[in-house]
């Protein structure tokens, strides 16, 4: 029974407590004003109840001072809400730089998750406590929304761009994962579980999960398969050191090369053309799945920020260390199942071998 009548969801992330504290203030103000109005309405309605049908009440002046008082006091209380709410929101929106990136792709009607070492899961998300997790999310079809009530986080996953969300899980347990933006027939079934583990349990889980190519490794192969390598670093800008750098555009503006910029430049190359290069790159719209786009960006990211590698394409690691988690750059990634580059590439299906397609 206690469980049925619970009023607050679990607090299982660093953002949950901030949201709940904000709620207490909002509730305090709301309860106070609701009671205030309720008490006055009921008291006046009874105290000044009509006594005879011919009763004529006196004129009561409405002083300006009273109008100003009951405008200014709510205004002040509202501004406290604004600044408090904004500070929580800014915290939610600013992921720390050292976050471990987990990729999430939403599609009708499932959440596909990939961990840094390549391990995949569907409608489940395993995360360790105590460590900033940055979710990089994309939608394969329509707008979805990634919602974990126990973490107090929600982010619409909008097709056509990458969106991010971060949190630090604080309490081991199993929590709901919902899609909260209507996305079609089985919207209510686009739900899953978030399994929060202690770090060592998480490592053990990762070790036990079926191995797969890490995103950057898959991206490196796509970079070759799709012929990107033919131009980039020759006729086109080099990818080495690109990520996170400021790019000068041909319209005189400049832009930081973040995930979304890289995505846009693949899908719609004409949108932001780098100064000094002709706008000749073809669009890859419709040719790459969201997961492949994430892989490509992960690869470009793995080439480092500011570093310059000859030829633009960092050689793929031939051998890898034993299965162990490391969020760092490509050379340290845990192993793929097969040695990348040694197998035929199935371009027509837009898929690379060895990846479970679901």
């Amino acid at each position: 029974m206690d469980e049925s009548f619970r009023l607050f969801p679990e607090e299982a992330s660093n953002l949950a407590r901030d949201c709940d504290h904000l709620l207490y203030y909002l509730l305090g103000v709301s309860v106070f004003f609701t009671l205030l109005i309720f008490v006055f309405v009921v008291y006046f309605a009874l105290r000044y109840r009509r006594k005879s049908d011919n009763e004529v009440p006196p004129l009561v002046p409405s002083p300006l001072s009273l109008e100003i008082t009951w405008s200014v006091i709510p205004f002040i209380l509202l501004m406290i809400m604004f600044f408090w709410g904004t500070s929580v929101y800014v915290k939610m929106k600013k992921p720390p730089a050292d976050g471990m990136q987990i990729n999430v792709v939403g599609k009708q009607w499932m959440w596909k998750v990939q961990h840094p070492n390549g391990a995949r899961e569907i409608d489940e998300l395993h995360v360790p406590i105590g460590r900033p997790i940055k979710l990089m999310m994309a939608s394969q079809d329509v707008v979805h929304s990634f919602f974990i009530p126990a973490f107090r986080i929600k982010q619409d996953v909008i097709p056509g761009s990458f969106v991010t969300q971060w949190f630090i899980a604080t309490k081991p347990g199993v929590y709901h994962l919902f899609c909260s933006q209507y996305c079609g027939a089985e919207h209510a079934k686009m739900i899953g579980r978030v399994i929060v583990l202690r770090p060592e349990q998480y490592e053990a889980w990762l070790a036990g999960a079926p191995p797969d190519e890490p995103p950057a490794v898959a991206g490196a192969r796509l970079f070759v398969t799709y012929g990107c390598v033919a131009c980039h670093a020759a006729r086109a800008p080099t990818m080495a050191g690109l990520y996170g750098s400021r790019v000068q555009l041909d319209n005189g503006r400049s832009v930081v090369a973040d995930d979304d910029y890289l995505r846009e430049s693949i899908i719609e190359p004409g949108a932001k053309v780098v100064a000094g290069f002709p706008p000749i790159m073809p669009s890859y719209r419709g040719q790459l799945s969201e997961e492949q786009l994430i892989d490509l960006v992960a690869y470009i990211k793995s080439l480092g920020a500011g570093a310059s590698t000859e030829g633009g394409v960092r050689p793929l690691p031939a051998t890898q260390p034993a299965n162990g988690f490391s969020p760092d750059r490509a050379p340290n990634y845990p192993p793929a199942r097969q040695t990348p580059g040694a197998e035929p590439v199935e371009v027509e299906h837009g898929r690379l071998g060895g990846r479970p397609d679901k």
Partner: protein, 565 residues
């Protein structure tokens, strides 16, 4: 009319001139009428019909949600039900509700005019409304729509295989009906006021309808454009909102909410007007802070245009956009708070009578306060992220639209019913219905605040079992609410034949609409009145003046239960 025994004291001594109701009886005289009062009744029948359809959809959903896995319908059916509930309740009931019935009926009466400025446009707006209604019913009968009333792309333009195009066509046409009504009200209030009816003598009902009309005229075209673009993208595959063909889905959300947030004010501002009239009449007081209530309506209408993206705090808009829209949303709360305080203060030292309309008005003040406060909670960025798209939002906007607008609509309907029909309804039945609506409403929607904070998303056909208890409470409340809504349907119809004759001014209200007969003659007034004072000059009446204001049909109806017995 004067053949019912027991009403002799109210039979006029002279041959009464024909009323707007009995001046002609043919179907043609109704369907081609240019009389604002008859058009108001045409709208009243139409929106009552749509309210019933929307209500049936809500009832099925609430019963379905009794069990976590769902009791009644399949997923797609459920999705179509909440879409139809939203589309019909928003565009075919709430937006037209108070303006097209009471606004149409009362604005000319209140300002001392014989009709609206453009009677033919008024009739045209009803025909547009009915055409829109035809298409939306067609979409419903052919198989329905499942996108939700928000028509978010690219789901609506690419993914859904339901009758989206037909539905957006219906709403497109419906928009023109809304624009014509708003245009008519603006021109009427500017140009048709009786001699001496200055702006600051206008009833607050007219001020709030003026503000509403501004929103109708300025915002509705944007909705028409948006839905037309959704239809074009869907039919001709032109990439506007769908990223797969080069569009931007968030653009659609901006355009949609640019209309649909102001649309919330189309729904609530007329309710403010109704409540201002009810509170003043039933406490016999000049409204406390008349100018503040009047100008706060205009302030809400203006600022209301600048808050739309608070519906998009989790839609990947920039932090700075989020901050700007949050700040503006807080600002719009201030004039709303001013209204609530002024209504409450109007009761102070008044002569308060708790008839059905006043019970509705006081209920409105309480429910709107809760709806407004939960609204500022949602304007709070860090809090909105968690409860966005959950049942918290559902509860919030039902408190505004149902607890607010619909209860004000019922209050106004009871208040002006004697003016519209010439008959009193049964007062005790009215009070019981008002109490059932208030209690049922709270039991239905208050648990949904908790459900939302616990994390239950909206538009879910099934849900995890731990949410069941609050869903059961909500459905229990909905069953009470349904009885509360059904009751007036019966006793109001009953009153048409058996209700006590009302006389011109059963509530002893000031205001021009009460100075003509009930029901009014076709041209409203025998002679256009000359206005010499404000609409709420109760304090100037000595008790004799109060007695002279009109019969005490309301008081007697209260004592006898309203019937002839």
């Amino acid at each position: 009319m004067a053949t019912i025994p027991g009403d002799l004291p109210y039979i006029p001594a002279y041959e009464a001139p024909p009323t707007y109701l009995n001046v002609a009886h043919t179907v043609r005289s109704w369907l081609l009428t240019k009389d604002h009062k008859r058009i108001a009744l045409l709208y009243l029948f139409s929106i009552t019909f749509f309210f019933a359809i929307g209500g049936v959809a809500a009832t099925i959903m609430r019963v379905h949600l009794l069990a976590p896995a769902g009791l009644l319908v399949e997923e797609m059916t459920y999705n179509k039900l909440f879409t139809m509930h939203g589309v019909i309740m928003v565009w075919f009931f709430l937006i037209p509700s108070i303006p097209t019935t009471m606004g149409n009926f009362l604005i000319p009466l209140m300002i001392g005019a014989r009709d609206l400025a453009f009677p033919k446009l008024n009739l045209a707006s009803w025909y547009l409304f009915m055409a829109a209604g035809f298409f939306i019913l067609l979409a419903l009968l052919l198989g329905g729509v499942d996108t939700g009333w928000t028509f978010y792309t690219p789901y609506s333009s690419r993914s859904s295989n339901t009758y989206v195009t037909l539905a957006v066509l219906a709403i497109f046409i419906n928009g023109f009906s809304s624009i014509l009504t708003g245009l008519n009200f603006i021109v009427t209030i500017h140009t048709m006021r009786a001699p001496g009816m200055t702006w600051f003598r206008l009833p607050l009902f007219c001020w709030s309808h003026y503000a509403t009309s501004l929103v109708m005229v300025l915002a509705t075209p944007v909705l028409a454009i948006t839905l037309a673009l959704v239809g074009i993208e869907r039919v001709f595959k032109v990439g506007i909102f769908d990223p797969a063909i080069g569009g931007d889905p968030v653009l659609m959300q901006h355009l949609f909410w640019f209309y649909s947030h102001p649309a919330v004010y189309i729904m609530i501002l007329p309710a403010f007007g109704v409540v201002s009239e009810l509170v003043t009449c039933f406490s016999r007081k000049r409204p406390f802070g008349y100018e503040f209530i009047a100008f706060s309506s205009l302030a809400i209408a203006m600022i209301g245009f600048l808050v739309w993206a608070h519906h998009m705090f989790v839609a990947n808009i920039s932090i700075y956009a989020g901050m700007a829209f949050s700040l503006l949303s807080f600002l719009v709360a201030v004039p709303s708070a001013i209204k609530v305080f002024n209504w409450t203060a109007t009761l102070y030292k008044g002569s308060v009578a708790l008839d059905t309309p006043m019970l509705c008005a006081l209920g409105f003040i309480g429910l709107f306060t809760l709806g407004g406060l939960t609204g500022v909670m949602l304007a709070t960025l860090g809090f909105d992220v968690h409860v966005h798209d959950t049942y918290f939002v559902i509860a919030h906007f039902h408190y505004i639209m149902v607890g607010g607008s619909v209860i004000a609509y019922f209050g106004g309907l009871h208040f002006w019913w004697p003016k519209m029909t010439g008959r009193m309804y049964n007062e005790w039945a009215g009070r019981i219905a008002a109490a059932l609506i208030f209690l049922g409403f709270n039991l239905t929607f208050f648990p949904q605040f908790v459900l939302g904070y616990l994390g239950m998303p909206r538009r879910y056909h099934s849900y995890p079992p731990e949410f069941q208890v609050y869903n059961v409470l909500s459905t229990a409340g909905a069953s009470i609410l349904a009885v509360g809504y059904a009751l007036p349907f019966f006793y109001l119809l009953w009153s048409l034949r058996y209700g006590r004759l009302a006389g011109p001014n059963p509530w002893r209200a000031t205001g021009l609409e009460w100075q003509t007969t009930s029901p009014p003659p076709k041209d409203n007034f025998e002679k256009i009145p000359v206005v010499t004072e404000e609409a709420y000059a109760y304090y100037k009446l000595a008790p004799q003046g109060m007695a002279a204001l009109g019969s005490v049909a309301a008081a007697e109806a209260r004592e006898t239960g309203g019937g002839e017995s």
